[in-house]
Structure formats: C-alpha cells, structure tokens
Symmetry: C2
Subunit: 324 residues, 2 copies
C-alpha cells in the first residue's frame, strides 16, 4: 500500500542504479533493451564466483566486484571481443551491511570507467550460504572474427601474455602460506588484469584465457583443435615475485590457475603482427612452446627436453562421480 | 598431461552440451557468438534462485531447472519479447550426484523444446552452501516495441493473466501447511507458466510479471509510471483451489508472489485487441482495477469500496539496513 520501496529495491536503487547504462532502463524494468552495434556479432559469456572458493570471504568488497567483472572480461579478451555491458546476480546474506554493497558497487564503478562498460540488469537475492555472484558479460566482434579454441594447428606457436603463476601464488600469499613482502602476488590474485585491448582477432588461430591453470587450459585448446602441445618450462614467463618464491613453486605456477592471461596459438607468419598488437596494447607476450601433430596432450619439457611429471594439470570443482 | 577431461568438464560435456544451440560453439569456447535476428532489438534479463529461498531443496531437479528458466522467460513475457536463448551458472555441492545434473538438464531440455530456445553458455562451480542458480535470458523485440513499466497512465485499466495467488499457496501446500488434495497448488509453485506467446507489444501501455506479489509488483508499475492504482479484491481471479483454501488466505494471494502471471496496463481503446491476443494465446485475462491520477500507491478495495489493510505488500529478500 505504501509509497515506500521495500528494502531490497531501495538497496538496488541506492547502489546499483548509478551503475546502469543506456539500455538498462534505469534497472526499473524486467529486462534491458539493447541494440547491438550495427554489423557486429554479439559475444556472451557467464562466470560465477563463490566466497571461499573463488575469493576469500574477507577480501575487500571493492575488489570482489572488480574481480567478478574482470574474470568475465577475460573471456571476451580470449575471443578478441570488445566489451559492451553486463548483467549480474548477487546472492548475499540478508544481514549483509549496506557498507558491503556500497564498497562492492564502488569497485564495479571504477572498472566500468576503466573498461568503458555499464550494468544492464540483474537480480539481488538473499542466501543462507556464502556470497555467490554470477555475471554475464556482453561484447561484440566483426562477423565471423571471434577467436575460437578449435582452430589451433600443428606448427602454430604457443604464446602467453604477461606472467604465469602469480594468481595461484597470490592465493597462497593471501592465506599467509608464502612470503609476499610487497603484497604484489596477493594483488594479482585479488585483481586480475584481463587482456582487453590486445587485438588478437585476425592474428590468433585460437586462444583461451588461463583461468584453471596453464597446462589444463592449453589442454582445452588441444582437445578442441585436435592437436598436441609442448611447453618449455624455462620459457614460461614468471614475475620477479614468482621467481623469488623458488623452483619448488614452479608446478603451482603451471597448474594453479587464476592468471587471466591469454594462451594464444599463432601461425609463424603472424608473429610480427602479434608483436605489433602487443606493443600497441602495452602487453608483454612470450613464446613458450608449440602445437604439434598428435593426440591432444600437453607435455611440459624441462631445459633438457625431458617431460616434467605433474601431479595434476589444473583445477576442477568436482570430484569424479560414480557415473564418470 | 592426460587426454582425459577433468571431472568438471566431463560433467558439462555429459549434461549441458546436449542443450547447446547455434552460437554456443558446443560450449567449447570462452563465450558464445550470437547474431541477433536482423532488425530486432535484444531484450536481456537475469534472475537467480537459491535452494531453500526460491525453491525447496528436495524439489525434483527436473522442476528446479524448468522453474529457473521459466522465471526468466516471464521477464521476457512482461516486455513482450520473443525468447532467443540463455546462459546459466550453476553452483552446487562438489558431491552433488551425477543423477541430479542429469535430471536438472532433462528438465531444461523439455522446456527448451517447449519454448524454442537453446543454452548458449555458462559456468559450473562448487559451493559449500545451498544450490545457487543464475540464468540470463535473451529475447528480441521490434525496435522501440519493448513493453516498459514506466508508461501506464491514469485511465488505463489494470488486467492480469491467469489466476493470482496459486504460487504463494502452492509453497504452503508443498510444505504441508494447507490442504492440496490433487497437488495442483504445489504444481503451480514448482512449475510456473510464463505468459510467453501473449503478444502484448502494441497493446499494453505497461506491464510487469507478478513475481514478488501482486500488490507490490503493481506498485512497481505505479512508481515507474507516476500513477496510483486501485485493485478490486473481489475481481482478482482465483483458481478453484485457491478459493477452496478460504478467505483467510486472500491476503496471501494478493501479496505472496511466485505467480509469474502478467499485470498489464491497457488503455480502454485497446481492450478489444487484448481480448483478441488473449484468445490467440489461449490465456485468460481479467480486469481487476484501474490506474488513477495521484501518488504511486496501490489501494486494494473490498466490494464496498473500503480499503483493505494489508500487513505487507510483497516479498523482499532484505531487511532494512541502518543506512536505509
């Protein structure tokens, strides 16, 4: 009967409406209306994050919002797409303080400005469980130009952006398990830097973002493309902080995940184009191996060419069930 | 190193890949690629559901998947949009049995066939908490023809589809709190019937789907449009099962939510068009009141024209926080 909004809708009006962009209809409607850029195809992905699984429950809410957005932007980067906007569902305890939402939204606002995108819609619900976030990101590409996973060929070189392993070491650092004097590793875990802006469309034969672990994610490229891959362990770019952690952590770097760098298959004749695109974007790229004919298997080789045995190749949320 | 897929990816391949449609790239890629129908605008919405909050933890998984999809389809119905596809994130316990996923996916497959849509992408993660689902639905409309909430005018009649209150009573029935001899009410709670197919674009001045409670949702229309509304309690269509529950349950019907019917503002001169559209779609529509000039307030009137006092107008997930 009242003119007052219920608490849930005041919360949305207070914290999320300021994030809304064109098409979101001020988050007043049941859905957003969106006219994609003329002559472009849409690229759409969705990723979820759970407190205690994908981020630490006491991580600053500003960074949780930004990580959620960036994890999804990284999927667009892997497809060579330009970000357009996002929808988000947020499940929190009914008693979550207003200040948590304010900080969470402030982080999103900062990244909206950085990546030139806006909130399009979503839902805010209560859960008796951990904070659970889901985000659907929309981007666009020229028709037929999305970079796929399935088109790597034997003879393509394997490149990665940035440095590998900081995310996995950063999780250990955030938990106090390894030294991180200047908190750089923990920062890499809490705030990934998706490689939006590296224009890989037309250069990459195939690409994937490194979220579940380098070896596993390159394995996905291999399975999708029907090729094998060899990675030279000593070529994998490590940050100074990861090098300082010591060689005992190399396997964690190779398999740990949370890097949100790109692994890219590049035909040799496009290497110069890759370097030019990387220079324009200000992103380091390093050739760490090659795709080879054969079964879809990833071999990590040491400096002698010996295959390094790995206890596991990456991250899975699920144990094998009896029917597996 | 292995050619084997990790358990998480086998789970996706086994249960979700068969649901994938054109553009989903077999769920192999980081994102889906989608060319919206030529000359149409996209309509996009996202809703989340949490076990124990939006559905009962022991509800059949077939029905949980279908409810998730239908709750989102209902948002498209309120905008007058045609469904196109969806992305979904699924957070379950790591030990969730394979059979749960099989049944969940079977329910989605049934509704994909019913509504002519396909899965486009998503994410599957583990949670230590309750099953938490998020779905982003995509649809399309002719440019500028999406039905909004903000354009109801004083003098428009207020119509609803179907019957109101069955969802709220169905929740009580599913919990064993009220009699439901043929399980019809519980069925309405577990499996809503979104009014996709009722072509309200060009007929409705404004519309909303009734998810949080009739009074509250009509209140949203009023606030967005800057008008008031009067609802005649004795005109609100109740199912035989809801009538059998007795007048003590009327307030629950008016405020309880989970109906997924539409509340529609229709100018008097379009009433005949509404009836024609309803007949084509096989959907009952009932005029229950009118929008009036004045503050954005919803008054529920009894047969004498007396305002019925309501303890609450609908559902909110959040208690008011101190900053509210």
């Amino acid at each position: 009967m009242a003119e007052e909004l219920p608490a849930e809708f005041r919360l949305i009006a207070r914290h999320f409406r300021p994030l809304a962009g064109p098409g979101a209809l001020d988050l007043v409607d049941d859905a957003a209306v969106l006219a994609p850029p003329a002559g472009r195809e849409l690229v759409i992905a969705a990723d979820a994050m759970v407190a205690g699984v994908h981020f630490l429950p006491d991580d600053p809410p500003e960074l949780i919002g930004r990580k959620l957005l960036r994890v999804n932007l990284s999927d667009l980067a892997a497809m060579g797409a330009t970000p357009l906007g996002y929808l988000m569902t947020v499940a929190t305890q009914a008693t979550t303080p207003d200040a948590w939402f304010a900080a969470f939204a402030a982080g999103l606002a900062a990244d909206q400005a950085e990546y030139g995108i806006h909130l399009l819609g979503g839902d805010t619900v209560a859960t008796p469980g951990p904070v659970t976030l889901s985000l659907t990101i929309l981007g666009h590409v020229a028709p037929g130009q999305a970079v796929r996973r399935a088109e790597a060929q034997a003879g393509d070189a394997l490149w990665v952006t940035g440095t590998i392993g900081d995310g996995a070491l950063g999780l250990r650092a955030a938990r106090g398990e390894i030294a991180d004097p200047d908190a750089w590793l923990a920062g890499r875990y809490r705030l990934p830097r998706p490689r939006i802006g590296l224009a890989i469309s037309g250069i990459a034969a195939a690409a994937i973002d490194v979220s579940d672990g380098l070896v596993q994610d390159v394995g996905h490229l291999c399975r999708a493309s029907g090729v094998g891959a060899e990675i030279a362990a000593d070529r994998v770019p490590l940050s100074p902080a990861a090098r300082a952690a010591g060689p005992a952590w190399l396997e964690t770097c190779l398999t740990g995940g949370d890097d949100y760098e790109l692994a890219i298959a590049v035909p040799p004749e496009r290497e110069a184009a890759l370097h030019a695109a990387a220079a324009r974007a200000g992103v380091a790229v390093t050739r760490i191996g090659a795709f080879i004919a054969g079964p879809p298997r990833v071999a990590v080789l040491d400096a002698d060419g010996t295959v390094l045995p790995l206890a596991r190749e990456g991250w899975s949320h699920f144990r094998e069930s009896p029917a597996g």
